[in-house]
Amino acid sequence: MKAPKLFFYILLAGASLSFLYPFYWMLLATLTPEAQIGALGFLPAGLTMDNYQLLADKIPIGRALLNSFIVAALSTTGVLVFGAMTGYVLAKMRFAGRNLLFFIIIFTMSMPFQLTLIPNYILMVELRWTDTLAALVIPALNSAFAILLFRQAFQSIPDDLIHAARVDGCSELRIIFQILLPNVIPAVITAGIITFMNSWNDVLWPLIVIRNEQLMTMPQLVALFAVGGRSEAQLGVKLAAAVLLALPIIVAYAVFQRHFIQSMASSGLKG
């Protein structure tokens, strides 16, 4: 092996370790009795599940996991269904205002969210949606990114296919969901992964619209637990909450790693 190459391997391995070790340490700390956490290195020091038990006694963590799953699943479904519908119209139909609509969608994608944050909060108050899951789901049902992704995917499908389906008497919705969607699975996966992950990790919006602990999602509950006094400065319990927040995404990432990376890279390329 050439010397520079060995050098590359050492650097890459060092970098890998720096990305993995903090998470490994976090997991280890949650399984360690509080008194020993300060001296943790690479190996476990006494194994305990007490931190998780204590956590479940202190905050409704199971409920928060369920809330997060409900919110992420509903948002993702909405983004996929409405994204496919809107993307289809933009790609395959001609109508007055098409260029204007396309321009607006591009604008909403590059628009900083700070512009609409406060007015949207007020809207939630006026609609009496604060402290309901509707406030987390309904504003998240559409995504400009998903629309543009589906538009692009549908553009590459020949018009003949659609025309033949219309001749056979298919409705437009059947054309979208039964005929076209199976042909653009990569777009479905990309939009699905990005939306689910963003929803799962979003914390600012839930902090604004949810005050009732029973309706909080994971990131919000865990963040408030981390800054508040409820954990009574017990590090192991705090980190146990963080582990439960990270775990579902880590499992999904372990299974769909390649898709995650490709999806995020393509969303970066378009954003």
């Binding site: 190459k5 890998s16 903090p22 109508f95 909403t108 003949d160 990270a246 990376i261 995020m264």
Partner: protein, 294 residues
């Protein structure tokens, strides 16, 4: 099998397009267009949501320009960006460059670099809060083991924002490694071989072959990390609550506190509007600079 002349596909179909678009249009109207208009209305009013709105003319805008804490929070955010963006570009480019060599386990390295990107900022911040701990934090323990003085990562007002910028780099760098790698892979290896034969130095190869290939990626990295940096919120919220001495009070955290700590809806909407315009101008300038360069 192309029997029919292709006309029907794009022909107008009466109301059908609008009906299919209606869920999106309704959503757009309610959650995007109305809030934009409403934020402009709010900018001229004083309102705590409970009592009636009160027209105050340009008071909010005047207050914004005199609000020292807001300008401090903008400067803090800029300080974050000045550390974060160059660090992000250099580390991402270096890691991408190594990964682009013929090496074993490339997939494994890529996957580990990317891991923090998919994990919640809440988790990352909680872990790094421990790494940065003054007494028992891993980093200070390592420094002491090397007989170096410990660093006040989060308790020193000059250091705290830099520490947060380093953590944010660690969290996001994996994404930019992938983006740079994609750029690097567009350059055929034969270019480098030819340059080698011609006697081009490593720097010349980088300057004239690599850099032009990754130029669009550089722009994207700058824009994405600018937008991300301007949204900096949960990291200082959890780690420092904006302290010490407001040194990590990001603009987003300040707006959050104005709106939901003091319920100043008119003023915080003004801040949001102004801040959004600031972000859009910075991104526009970046775009101009990069386009001029290339």
């Amino acid at each position: 099998m192309k029997i029919q002349v292709n006309k029907g596909g794009k022909k107008g179909r009466g109301l059908a397009p609008y009906i299919i678009l209606s869920p999106y249009l309704l959503h757009l109207l309610l959650f995007v267009l109305f809030p934009i208009v409403f934020s402009v209305v709010l900018a001229f009013h004083k309102w705590n949501i409970i009592s009636p709105m009160e027209y105050v003319g340009l008071d909010n805008i005047q207050r914004l320009f005199q609000d020292r804490l807001f300008w401090k929070s903008v400067l803090n955010t800029l300080k974050f960006l000045i550390v974060h963006i160059p660090l992000q570009i250099v580390i991402a480019l270096a890691l991408a460059y190594f990964l682009n060599e013929k090496i074993l386990m490339r997939g494994f390295f890529r996957a580990t670099f990317f891991l923090p990107v998919v994990i919640s900022g809440v988790v990352v911040t909680m872990v790094w809060q421990q790494l940065y701990g003054l007494e028992t934090g891993l980093l200070n323990r390592a420094l002491i083991a090397l007989h170096l003085p410990r660093v006040e990562w989060l308790s020193n007002p000059y250091m705290a924002m830099i520490s947060i910028a380093v953590m944010a780099t660690w969290k996001n760098v994996g994404l930019y490694v992938i983006l740079f790698l994609t750029g690097l892979q567009t350059v055929p290896r034969s270019y480098y071989e030819a340059a080698e034969v011609e006697g081009a130095s490593a720097w010349q190869q980088f300057r004239y072959i690599t850099l032009p290939a990754i130029n669009p990626t550089l722009f994207m990295v700058a824009v994405l990390s600018t937008i991300g940096g301007f949204s900096l919120f949960i990291e200082p919220y959890i780690m420092t609550d904006g302290g010490p001495l407001n040194s990590t009070l990001s603009a987003m955290l300040y707006i959050y506190k104005q709106a939901f700590g003091y319920y100043q809806m008119g003023y915080s909407a003004t801040l949001g509007l102004f801040f959004a315009l600031l972000i859009m101008s910075v991104v526009a300038v970046q775009k101009l600079v990069i386009e001029k360069e290339s």
